[in-house]
């Protein structure tokens, strides 16, 4: 088996990138490990949510507060953004024009911001209906889990802007390439977490 064949997906850029491909090994592995730790963080918050599901203390519950249409749009936006980031990753890997790479990244950012806009709108309409975090254990748990994901997306958005800045400033050097690869992983990871949120929080809450 050749050296290249045993490299795991998500850890490499392909042999065409030479030294950058070698550098990716350690850095990407480190980021996978970080994501593992972050996944535990989310798991704990999910556990809090599930155990607090019935702790509404007489306040509004899932059926009173969730708006599945809006959440569905958010889901589509986020899934689409994962796809566009995938296109950005391909543009990086196959050395397409820099403009194309930046283009896909900007589209991803726009989709992410739209997602956050819808999410904030959801929160504010929940607030209007009396669904504030200090109302009950259930709402506390909700506002731990869903905004934690939102904060991650926000951080990812800021990171994305910085990376575009680095591409403009330095071009595609090793550090920028590795940054884009890590953000890609992070972005897809958040997508997976969102699917869990959509299923556990929204779908299960409304059935």
């Amino acid at each position: 088996m050749s050296e290249q064949a045993i490299k795991h997906p998500g850890l490499n850029l392909g042999p065409a990138h030479g030294k950058d491909d070698e550098a990716a090994g350690t850095v990407m592995f480190g980021f996978w490990v970080f994501l593992m730790s972050d996944a535990i963080l989310f798991a704990m918050v999910f556990a809090t949510y599930v155990t607090s599901l019935h702790a509404t203390a007489g306040g509004p519950g899932p059926r009173d507060l969730y708006d599945i249409k809006s959440v569905f749009i958010e889901t589509m936006l986020l899934l689409a953004s994962s796809f566009t980031f995938g296109m950005a990753s391909l543009a990086l890997k196959y050395k397409h024009r820099k403009a194309r790479l930046i283009g896909w990244m900007v589209v991803t950012l726009v989709l992410g911001v739209a997602f956050l806009g819808f999410e904030l709108h959801d929160f504010s309409s929940m607030f209007v209906k009396g669904g504030v975090p200090s109302r009950s254990g259930f709402l506390s748990a909700f506002f731990d889990l869903v905004p934690l994901h939102g904060l991650h997306v926000t951080a990812g958005g800021i990171w994305l802007i910085c990376l575009v800045g680095q591409i403009v400033r330095y071009g595609l050097d090793t550090k920028t390439k590795l940054g884009i690869m890590r953000l890609a992983l992070f972005w897809h990871f958040l997508d997976i977490v969102w699917i869990a949120i959509f299923s556990v929080v929204y779908l299960a809450g409304l059935t």
Partner: protein, 700 residues
């Protein structure tokens, strides 16, 4: 909300430790006020003295460029250990105060209940998070990369940032002595007691943010260590050739990665309860404090193994080295370490057997807890077989290891007792439990770290520690421990609850006094340790071991000079077997001059570590005292610093082949001039760090 009014949040004159004493000068207030003010003065005077000394000897620049901004894992490791030793001194003095209070505690004593509660809360918090954790992180940082033949950890600047976060947390706990009061909720800060309506002061906030910073630092450290061991091993360093200390470091790192997030979640949720009126753990509106208990111990139990595994690794190294034999049952020790790491996640519920779950659940967790005794027992036998027919030398690290074996087995036995829920119900919340966990934590973790300190000090600083005072200190630790904690087993069975400031049973008094005297002996041990350090520095010229192998070491951290060059190895070693350095010495390839040297690339210094330390400390301080403008400012500064770091490019520097050759030749010249010594002379000044080769385990 106005973010600048009041400008200092809830910080007021009454936050100072002597305020109560001046406003309400009753006898009790004066005693407590004097103790608190004395402690605060020690912190302030210590800080001022440090600043004065640094200024007087013009050490600010060297401190900044050689230490604080250094990404060198060896320097970071040393700084971790310095933090640990400072915090050890404080928490140990607190322990002596508590034992003193209990000795006089029949119907009163001299401390107020609140002061006593602060003492046990800070003592526990410091010993776990700011003594044991930095100590083991420091030792792993120093030793592990060299044991696997690497130049540094995988992410050197991240390493420096982890140190900064830990240091900020430690500083926060120290500041709580001077400004305001620390939590009275114990080291695990159970709500609802620590919620805002029962503990409205700043205490739990200090606790929350100190733990959050330390926890974040440890998560990053865990990632760094694990990736380093996976990715940076020298050619030929296969898994089953790694020194056992590296194995334990790996297991500890993996536990850190998985066990720290629950702590982060628990403290963050408690903070949201306290700051924004959420209801995670409150009594009313659907809060559930059992979630806290589960989250905390889901971290807290694996944490116990984060602490003990590296100590097991240290004992494996010291026992094997000072018995002059390869480790017995290497494979079983590796398996046992892995088994313990796995089991550590399956027993958290035994911390609250009495909190109302059904008997079957208790039974499952009780059995799981007892199972941990099996791999631990395997280890104990392996260490004893390692000594068997070895040529055992009673050096200081070995004395700690022997004290550990005897005492830790007893502590483990009391743990097996407590793992049985029916027995746990009887002694729950008594000092029997206190005796048990100190019995595993002190002879286990602390003796392990002190053993490591004596073992690797000559490597780190180039001279041996004073043997005589080391021995005095070790014996005082061992017998002081026995005196201080064995009485607590009896007191616990007699019914003395833990954390009580005073009691009414006269029959407790003799045992309490015995425990107090034991605690004083431990204080003597600490003083002996400091005295030893002073003597060793004074006499360092007589005890130099520049050649680098003072103990006939077996693994690669001994295969370079003492102190080692910043790049660790002039040429990355090629590993062909276990105990790589012993093999190299036997085959006569330990001290060779290679034909060619190459340039070595190292990370440049970075101000990220100290910057994050300062920013996160100020952020946490602002949060504790509700100084919102400071919070916002520091939050933005933290983000900005990370963005700026992202744009940094010129982050590597080159050590020229010429310089490497020069330094390496200087060392090999020293090796050539040195006389190899036998093990009988290793604690005398003829030991310059070159060991005469002797066959394994020969009885003379």
């Amino acid at each position: 909300m106005n973010i600048v009014d009041p400008p200092l949040g809830r910080l007021q004159w009454s936050s100072l430790p002597f305020w109560d004493m001046l406003q309400h000068p009753t006898k009790g207030n004066i005693i407590n006020g004097l103790i608190a003010t004395g402690a605060a003065s020690l912190v302030v005077i210590g800080a001022i003295a440090l600043v004065v000394l640094l200024t007087k000897y013009k050490l600010w620049r060297p401190l900044w460029s050689n230490w604080l901004t250094s990404p060198d894992h060896k320097k970071i490791g040393i700084m971790y250990v310095v933090i640990a030793l400072v915090m050890l001194a404080r928490a140990l003095i607190e322990a002596v105060l508590m034992r003193g209070q209990q000795a006089f505690g029949l119907g009163g004593g001299f401390l107020s209940p609140e002061h006593f509660a602060q003492l046990f809360s800070t003592h526990g918090t410091i010993m776990i998070f700011f003594m044991a954790m930095p100590f083991l992180t420091g030792v792993i940082n120093y030793v592990m990369p060299m044991q696997i033949g690497a130049r540094d950890v995988s992410f050197p600047v991240l390493n420096s940032i982890s140190l900064g976060l830990t240091a900020a947390g430690a500083a926060l706990v120290m500041v709580s002595l001077v400004i305001g009061k620390f939590s009275t909720g114990g080291w695990f800060g159970y709500p609802p007691y620590t919620e805002a309506n029962f503990s409205p002061g700043v205490g739990p906030d200090y606790w929350i943010w100190a733990l959050s910073l330390a926890g974040l630092g440890s998560t990053l450290t865990g990632i760094n260590f694990a990736v380093t061991i996976y990715k940076e091993r020298a050619p030929g360093m296969q898994w089953m050739r790694m020194p056992l200390f590296t194995w334990t470091a790996l297991c500890t790192a993996i536990i850190m990665i998985f066990a720290m997030p629950p702590l982060t979640v628990a403290t963050a949720q408690l903070a949201l309860d306290r700051y924004l009126g959420f209801h995670y753990f409150t009594n009313a509106l659907g809060g559930n404090m059992m979630n806290f208990a589960n989250l905390f111990w889901l971290f807290g139990h694996p944490e116990v193994y984060i602490l003990i595994l590296p100590a097991f690794g240290v004992y494996s190294e010291t026992i094997s080295t000072f018995s002059g034999k390869a480790l017995f049952g290497y494979r079983s020790l590796v398996m046992a370490t892995m088994a313990i790491a796995l089991l550590s996640f399956t027993v958290w519920l035994h911390h609250f057997f009495t909190m109302g779950q059904n008997a079957n659940i208790n039974a499952v967790f009780g059995i799981a807890s007892m199972l941990i005794g099996i791999p631990t027992g395997v280890k104990i036998y392996d260490w004893m077989w390692t000594m068997f027919r070895g040529r055992v030398r009673f050096t200081v690290p070995m004395v700690y290891a022997l004290g550990f074996i005897v005492l830790f087995v007893l502590g483990g036995m009391s743990g097996i007792l407590l793992a049985n829920p029916t027995i746990d119900y009887q002694v729950h919340n008594t000092v029997f439990l206190v005796a048990h966990f100190h019995n595993v934590a002190v002879p286990g973790v602390l003796f392990g770290m002190l053993s490591a300190y004596h073992f690797w000090f000559p490597k780190a600083f180039g001279f041996r520690l004073n043997e005589r005072w080391g021995m005095i200190s070790a014996l005082c630790w061992i017998f002081g421990f026995v005196g201080a904690f064995f009485p607590l087993y009896a007191l616990g069975i007699m019914g003395l609850p833990r954390r009580t400031v005073a009691y009414t049973e006269a029959r407790y008094v003799p045992l309490e006094w015995m425990a107090f005297l034991g605690a004083l002996l431990i204080l003597v041990a600490l003083l002996a340790l400091l005295w030893q350090l002073w003597l060793s520095i004074r006499d360092r010229a007589d005890n130099r071991v520049f050649v680098g192998d003072p103990w006939a070491g077996r693994s690669l951290e001994w295969a370079n000079s003492a102190p080692p060059p910043e790049y660790n190895f002039a040429v990355i070693p090629q590993i062909e077997s276990r105990d790589a350095f012993t093999a190299a010495k036997e085959q006569g390839r330990a001290y060779l001059r290679p034909d060619t040297y190459v340039d070595i690339e190292l990370p440049k210094n970075s101000a990220m570590g100290p910057a994050i330390a300062a920013i996160s400390f100020a952020l946490a301080f602002g949060l504790v005292w509700h100084i919102w403008w400071l919070v916002i400012l520091c939050f933005l500064a933290a983000i900005a610093s990370m963005i700026i770091r992202g744009f940094a490019r010129d982050t590597r520097r080159i050590v020229s082949a010429q310089q490497v050759r020069q330094e390496h030749h200087r060392w090999i010249d020293a090796v050539d001039q040195a006389t190899a010594i036998s093990r009988a002379d290793e604690c005398t000044s003829v030991n310059v760090g070159l060991a005469r080769q002797e066959a394994d385990g020969v009885v003379p």
